[in-house]
């Protein structure tokens, strides 16, 4: 029953972080709507944050650093979500669609 | 800026005044009547559905003139009478009040010149069946006679 103690190994968290990151990448590439992409991006960030937090717990001498880094990631994610969604809304008003392929005019 | 704080202060005071009003009501006794357990006495003039008035001997005062039937705006009264052999007056044989259409306007009582109709004090008239509102007033009168007769004995 090694499974019951995996939460005490660094590797578990790193692999799990990578898993979320991979899901995020997949979502980002496979999604067609802007909002879906945004959701995928959030997943990506969560994966990164988990990595930071894991290193923070197991490796760093100063465990505040990782937490502060993750905190900053959260702040950036919040800013990103706000801006991204306002763009989504603006785009929707303009094109009546949130499908990324419908926004042909953005190509320049 | 002063408006800002007077607004705040005035608003708070108005809210507290309102809360004081409701708080004063809190310990008072309820004014409601616990209906199924308690009952109200109806006023003398209360207009329930109509009822026949019986004479001394218990027979209805009605002479079957059909004034009430004609006065009724919603045709909810139907009555029949017959003239027995050797009698001058018609005798009421049935008096059906269809309470489903009655609007309690009282036209029938007003049109009656022979003191044969009155309002009952019945206000408890809820039912789930339509037939309960087809009221045979003659039967009611007979029952009342029985009840009052039983009381006298």
């Amino acid at each position: 029953m090694q499974l019951l103690v995996i939460h005490q190994y660094l590797g578990t968290y790193l692999v799990f972080g990578a898993m979320l990151f991979g899901l995020g990448i997949y979502g980002l590439l496979a999604r067609r709507t802007l909002i879906g992409m945004l959701i995928a991006a959030e997943l990506l960030l969560a994966g990164v944050s988990i990595n930071f937090m894991a290193f923070n717990r197991f490796l760093t001498p100063d465990p505040t650093v990782g937490q502060i880094f993750a905190l900053f990631i959260m702040a950036v994610a919040a800013a990103e979500a706000a801006i991204g969604l306002s763009i989504v809304v603006a785009v929707y008003r303009r094109y009546r669609s949130v499908d990324s392929e419908d926004m042909v005019n953005l190509n320049g | 800026m002063s408006g800002y704080f007077t607004d705040l202060w005035g608003g708070a005071v108005s809210l507290l005044e309102g809360m004081w009003v409701t708080l004063k009501e809190f310990p008072k006794r309820p004014v409601t009547v616990g209906y199924p357990h308690e009952h109200l006495k109806m006023y003398r003039r209360f207009r329930g559905h109509v009822e026949l008035i019986g004479g001394e001997d218990g027979s209805p005062n009605c002479i079957v003139c059909s004034m009430c039937e004609r006065a009724c705006p919603s045709n909810c009264i139907s009555m029949t009478g017959e003239k027995p052999e050797g009698s001058k007056k018609k005798v009421l044989t049935s008096y059906i009040l269809d309470f489903t259409t009655c609007s309690l306007c009282g036209s029938c009582v007003e049109s009656c010149n022979f003191n044969a109709l009155k309002f009952s004090n019945e206000y408890n008239l809820a039912s789930t069946r339509r037939e309960d509102f087809i009221i045979d007033l003659l039967e009611r009168l007979a029952e009342q006679n029985k009840a009052s007769g039983g009381g006298d004995d």
């Binding site: - | 309102g18 809360m19 409701t22 009501e25 809190f26 309820p30 004014v31 409601t32």
Partner: protein, 339 residues
């Protein structure tokens, strides 16, 4: 840490019982109180003083058919009520009912309550939206914007208290106010607060924001029945509705607990430490304060008309947020100067 986490999960089950009983009898109390405020007796028919009303209501709700409107996203529709109840239960884990009765001591107890309150607002959103009902949709948007608007002053005010107490843990905040009624943070001129004169205003802000957070009258915009029929739970029946109902009352209890701990000294006895029966004594005081606050909640609900969404947001942005921010800065400065 591992053991305490386990405790937390066990405590959730205890919390369910506590919340369930509280929610049920708060409903009874609300109806009874409403009756007394309105010159009528409230529930009387079931049991003495209508005391059997809540369990009977519960049975009725449970035996009713759970209707799922056509065309809804069933999974989300069903998850929403659970999501409404769950955060309230988790929040109970960290509430200290006395110096010794606290299911799980967590360093950031205050944050936990706010975090799960945020999760609760998500449930309203999901419920209103998955119902495919316009009223529910408007209601959920209202409820969320209201919660978001009032979370800010609520957090700021809480931070003020946290500053004074020097801890994010609820039991430590309560413990800092021990030693008599004059030590409670509701009063001005606390030494630990740097003799801040505005503490009662902080308390008022906290109180109003708690009412708004819990979507209660006069801020019950989410369930404004004269406007939006029944709001976000228009389409819910049976236990779906029951869970929302319970969750609402559980939130009220949590809001009242928070006020009690942050401003009224938690389990602290108003007459200082008398030294006898510390255990029951303390829980008793806590519950007394808690139910007093809840009584005021009920009282307010049955006195005032409802605000509108812009009135509510104006109140938040024009009054609550500036005042609470000002108070936070002032407190910080005063503490720096005096402490």
């Amino acid at each position: 840490m591992e053991l305490s986490l386990l405790n937390a999960f066990i405590a959730v089950f205890i919390a369910i019982a506590f919340v369930g009983a509280n929610a049920a009898y708060l409903v009874w109390w609300e109806r009874k109180g409403a009756g007394f405020f309105q010159r009528r007796p409230g529930p009387t028919e079931n049991g003495p003083w209508g005391l059997l009303q809540p369990p009977l209501d519960g049975i009725k709700l449970m035996t009713k058919q759970l209707l799922i409107p056509g065309g809804v996203d069933k999974a989300i529709f069903m998850v929403a009520p659970v999501l409404a109840m769950f955060p309230a239960l988790v929040s109970f884990v960290t509430i200290p009912f006395s110096s010794s009765i606290q299911a799980h001591t967590i360093e950031v107890g205050v944050l936990l309550i706010f975090a799960f309150a945020a999760l609760g607002s998500m449930s309203l959103l999901v419920a209103g939206w998955s119902s495919r009902n316009k009223y529910a949709m408007i209601s959920s948007i209202r409820a969320v914007s209201q919660t978001v608007a009032y979370e800010i002053p609520l957090l700021i005010t809480t931070i003020t208290v946290v500053l004074i107490a020097g801890s994010l843990e609820l039991s430590e905040i309560a413990a800092a106010q021990m030693g008599g009624i004059w030590n409670w943070y509701i009063w001005p001129f606390q030494k630990s607060a740097g003799f801040n004169i505005f503490m009662p205003i902080s308390f008022m802000i906290m109180f109003i924001c708690s009412v708004a957070e819990t979507n209660r009258a006069p801020f019950d915009l989410g369930e404004a029945e004269s406007e939006l029929v029944a709001g976000f739970h228009t389409e819910y029946s049976s236990m779906g509705f029951g869970l929302f109902f319970m969750g609402e009352y559980a939130n009220i209890v949590i809001g009242a607990c928070l006020i009690t701990i942050l401003f009224l000294g938690g389990w602290a006895c108003p007459f200082g430490d008398l030294g006898f029966f510390p255990f029951t004594h303390h829980v008793g005081w806590f519950l007394l304060k808690l139910y007093l606050i809840i009584f005021v909640f009920v009282w307010i609900r049955w006195t005032f008309p409802r605000t509108t969404i812009y009135g509510l947001l104006n109140l938040s942005w024009q009054y609550m947020i500036p005042l609470s921010l000002f108070n936070l800065l002032l407190t910080a400065a005063l503490i720096k100067v005096f402490a």
